[in-house]
Amino acid sequence: MHAIEKLLAKKAGKTHVTTGEILNCEIDLAGINDLYLQTLRSFYEMGATKVHSPSKVMMFLDHYAPASSILQAQNQKEFREFCWDQGIEMLMDIDQGVCHQVVADKGLAHPGEIIIITDSHTTTHGAFGAFGTGVGATDLAIILATGKLWLRVPEIIKITFEGKPPHGVYAKDMILHAIGELGADFAVYKAVEFSGSTLQYLSISERMALCNMSTEMGAKTSYIQPDAITMAYLNEKVTRPYEIYQTDEDFSYAAEISFDVTHLSPKLAAPSSVDNVYDVTKFIGTPIDQAYLGSCTGGRAEDIGIAAGILKGKHIAPRTRFVIVPASKGVFLEAMSKGYVQSLVEAGATFVTPGCAACLGTHEGMIASGETCITTTNRNFPGRMGHTEARIFLGSPAAVAAAALEGKIVDPTAYIVKENG
């Protein structure tokens, strides 16, 4: 069996499972976010009154942090009251940031657990060897009511990255390349394991970007077998006991794909689908109205550090704005203590509250009809960050910061200071 299958089997009280089997699994960590008051509605509609395991539930007020309309404020109020009534202590209020980064910052993501959040990018937690998957409101309500959820044992695909990434090429470029080659629906219903010699060059932050974006090829979950880099991180952050599963040598994958990244160039996903991927050089000179750095994909301290390295002592181009959204309070504090915030604000960047912000087109950096945005986020669908007639390019933090500096798309390689490369 694969490590993922062993984990699912354990949570379903079984010793063996097979692909396609439906399991009723115990859920170790269930997260609700503030977009989905329907979760509470569904909970009561099913006749539930008491949350099964309040200590395994987290409530994230992240997508509307802080509320920018009366309705958002009302929704957040209902969530807070629900937590207080139900004894849910892990209420992550508007100061905390995007759910996935908060879970990681607090040392709650680790091998051997099932993490389910009402957010499609819950695949991020594969970076820690956890089984993370996103669900809708009613599925989450079922976990609130029963502590369990049905899951189908997925087919598992192995994607291997080989070689040392060249200067200026990040995990974001690699995963965009893979999605561009394989398509936005390549891994629908399936689990994706990332492996290969490239992983030794990827920090936890970069691995999180990789696993996060597996959602954009349709993956149900993603997985990186914990190694020395994972363990160094876990030893520092995680205090709970956990179990690491190993894949049997005779396990047969549904598919195996390999990419050599040794000569990869920086990539962009062009409007308006994530699999519309080209070398950045194809778009050089495209004027940029807004550069945006943030989200559970590309809003970590390392990402902000790359931007600070490019912009320190300089200023963004006239007629361009640069919105930066730290993924979490922890990220924001680190970016401040390292001086990144100072450099970037002096360079003309606009910082907003840690959270999801304009990544999903709700507030804090929306874009107008006819505008072009380059962003470190995860989706460039029509209307994703504002008007449906706006254009969105997805790229690495370096591609975004270099575009902010020049006011147009450029090859970021020459702009990256060596210590960040």
Partner: protein, 173 residues
């Protein structure tokens, strides 16, 4: 559950994401009457005016990709969409729709076989898709587990039953 569904076909392409089905800026609405106003708004703002109860959405691959927002399934059910036939579905949307009791069926390469606006029918139990001329295609059968949820009118009645049973056992003990 109605197993025989008949209606006009509304045809969409590949990768119809949840921002097209229900744009992010309307996600703060939580009452079904409000959510119903913006069905398919990002793909076709006229859809909500044209659609009638029982109409069928036909789409290409990866329908419902993107966000986990249940609003996408809620809005389509609320405007009366009878079923969605697609070449494939994104998994969270698939679960959300089934949980609500909104029938979905997978029919590879269906897109080029159906004209926008034509009257089509779908028999969920056999998977047979037809138009006025006859059978167009047979879709992949629904799994037993999914069929059970649909037949119960969604997952909520099933969980309600399970909770009542557990409470009864608890009180009996």
């Amino acid at each position: 559950m109605k197993t025989f569904i008949k209606g006009r076909a509304f045809v969409f392409g590949n990768n119809i994401d949840t921002d097209q089905i229900y744009p992010g800026r309307f996600v703060e609405y939580t009452n079904v009457e409000d959510v119903a106003k913006y069905a398919m708004f990002g793909a076709d703002p006229e859809f909500v005016k044209d659609v009638q109860a029982g109409d069928i959405i036909v789409a290409g691959t990866n329908f419902g990709c993107g966000s986990s927002r249940e609003h996408a399934a809620i809005t389509l059910k609320a405007v009366g969409v009878g079923a969605i036939i697609a070449e494939s579905f994104a998994r969270i949307f698939y679960r959300n729709a089934i949980n609500l009791g909104l029938p979905l069926i997978v029919a590879p390469r269906i897109l080029k076989l159906i004209e926008p606006g034509e009257n089509i029918s779908l028999d969920l139990s056999s998977g047979i898709i037809g138009n006025e001329k006859g059978i167009i295609k047979t879709a992949e059968p629904l799994s037993e587990y999914v069929l059970k949820i649909l037949e119960s009118g969604g997952i909520k009645p099933l969980i309600r039953e399970q909770l009542l049973l557990e409470q009864g056992l608890h009180h009996g003990a």
